[in-house]
Each structure stands twice: as C-alpha cells, then as structure tokens.
Symmetry: C2
Subunit: 191 residues, 2 copies
Amino acid sequence: MEILKQRILKDGKGIGTSILKVDSFLNHQIDIDLMEKLGQEFYEHFKGKKVTKILTIEASGIAIAAFVAKAFNVPLVFAKKVVSKNLEGEILTSSVQSYTKGLIYLINVSKKFITEGDNVLLIDDFLANGSALLGLADIVKQGGAHLVGAGIAIEKSFQPGRQRANDMGIDVYSLACIESIDDNNIKFKEY
Amino acid sequence: MEILKQRILKDGKGIGTSILKVDSFLNHQIDIDLMEKLGQEFYEHFKGKKVTKILTIEASGIAIAAFVAKAFNVPLVFAKKVVSKNLEGEILTSSVQSYTKGLIYLINVSKKFITEGDNVLLIDDFLANGSALLGLADIVKQGGAHLVGAGIAIEKSFQPGRQRANDMGIDVYSLACIESIDDNNIKFKEY
C-alpha cells in the first residue's frame, strides 16, 4: 500500500537492522485518517469472506482494527494480556512470546465472543516473529470459529512470522513488507 | 447519553455493589457503531475548545478515543503501561493504581507527542477512583500542554474519581453516571 510505505519512509525510523519505530503515526501517536485508509484497504481485500468478527490484541492493534471493524460493520474483539477481575467465566487462552519486550505472556479472550459460526479476521500492526498472530489463530481454533485470514499493517519480512503463518495455512495480507532495515535505509519487498 | 444508558441496562451486568461488566460492547468486544456515537457526543460537548490531541491509556480507552479523534480530526496518543524497547528518548511518566487489577503501574508517553501549545482532551472508558485520569492529567501538565477536560463513557459516581478530578479543576463530562449497583439493579445519577 503506497501511502503506508511513503509514510514509513517519511516518518518511520530504522534503528540497527531490526527495529522500525513508527510511534509518530501508528502505535503510540496515531494518525486516524491513515487508520481509516488501512481499514478500507483490508476491507477491499477480505470483503468476499463473510467476516463476522475482527480479532486483535491489545494495545497497538486496536486503533487499526477498530476501523477495519467499522468497514466490515462487525464487532471488534481484542485479546487481553492480563486476566483482570472483570474477565471471568470461560476463557480461551494462548501464550505469546514478545521479543520486543523480552517476555512471555498469556492472551485471553472470553469464550462468549469467539464462537462456532464466526468468520474471524485477525488484525495487527506488526508481523515479526509471528508469535502474537499464531496465538490469536490458536484462540480462533479453540473457539471453534473459522479463521478467514490476517491483515497486517507492517510485516518484517526478514523475520520468520510470515513463513510461520503460511505454514499454518493462514492467508496473510500485509500492507507494507520490509525486506531490510539498515538504520534509515529501509527497503520494501514485493510479494 | 440515553443510548449508552439503555445499552448498559440491556447488556451490562452488575456484580455485587461495585463491578459493572460491559465486556460485550465496550471493553472486550466492542460495538463500533456505538463507539462512533460516543465519539460524536464528546465532540459536540468539547468542540469549542480547540482540541489538538486526544490522550487515552491502553487498552480499553483506545477504541472510544479513536472515534473521538476522528470527530475532532486530530491525532490520538495513548499512554503505555510498559516501557518497551520501542519507547525510548525522553518520556513523560506518572504512576497509576489499578483497583481492578490490584497493582500500581507506570504510564508513559513520549515527550514528543504532548507539548506546549497542545490542547489535550482525555478520554477513558471508566472513571472510578480517578487514578488513571489523574495520571494522564499529570502527564499533560509535565508536557507543558493545556488540559481541556476529560470525556468518560461510564462514571461510577459512588467512587471518588469524579470528586478527585473536580478538586484538580478538571472539566469532566461523563456519558453515563452510575449512582449505585446492586447486582443487576443499576441506578443512574443525573448531574
């Protein structure tokens, strides 16, 4: 998606060979107009799939996913990383390893919200090692729902997430695929 | 806001005298159409205030705040609860006590995104003890920005958050104020 790639080149910041900071428009400060365009783009790609739910993971996927849900006119569900007092009853749970934060955490979704008959589209801001995406896919499977595919804003194609998702048979649609980062020399890959 | 109150009565679940579960439409599964209406309502209330930024806190404030930001056509910033490798540079930080989760955590905002000249509107899904709201207000102050006010979806008026915010001079606008919860006997308060 050209508009996202141009924005990454303009406002993104590569650090070393693996970190891409996009905190000025995507995952800390958020450009809402851009989020709407991303939402529309995912809708165009997946609109034939009878999507009934959008599933993402807190926190930085939520703003994008909200506009995908708006485009599809379906509810958004976000997986929670902490079980709070407000999340009880039967829970679908899976574990996710965060390389950025250097920890393993559980993600949780109330069983009420992902059920048989649901066609679930996963949305996230980044695909890197694929751990979050596979955790979400696991939750969809546990809930007995159908996984439509995954919409990703930025894919780090030099990390194994895309391959791992493809090996699981997940239809991944990424709007900007990063082939390499060398400080501010950011190269895109075309599939 | 009548539509929100009716939805609370229809789909909310009171537990004991202090917990209100609204996870089917507000803070786990999210009704996007409702979020848009909340966003529009906050816009109508604060539109004369020259708002330049919407500030919320991850995670459950983000979906509402995204539609407030859309209505104002300004960026959304969300405070992060964990300092990750991707959040470096100068950081505004404050501490927040979560009664729901039984812990104290730090909230963090990059100094780049809340600055002098900003007119900041705080948005959150709940106001209970007010700790999150006061933490966000503290961050606005640290950044040298002007605090316009706070838009809250659901206020638990029987808890001290509203009073604490008023004591700080914060203009709080809550769309549904809960006077009392007694299991599923939920009473609203009018200011």
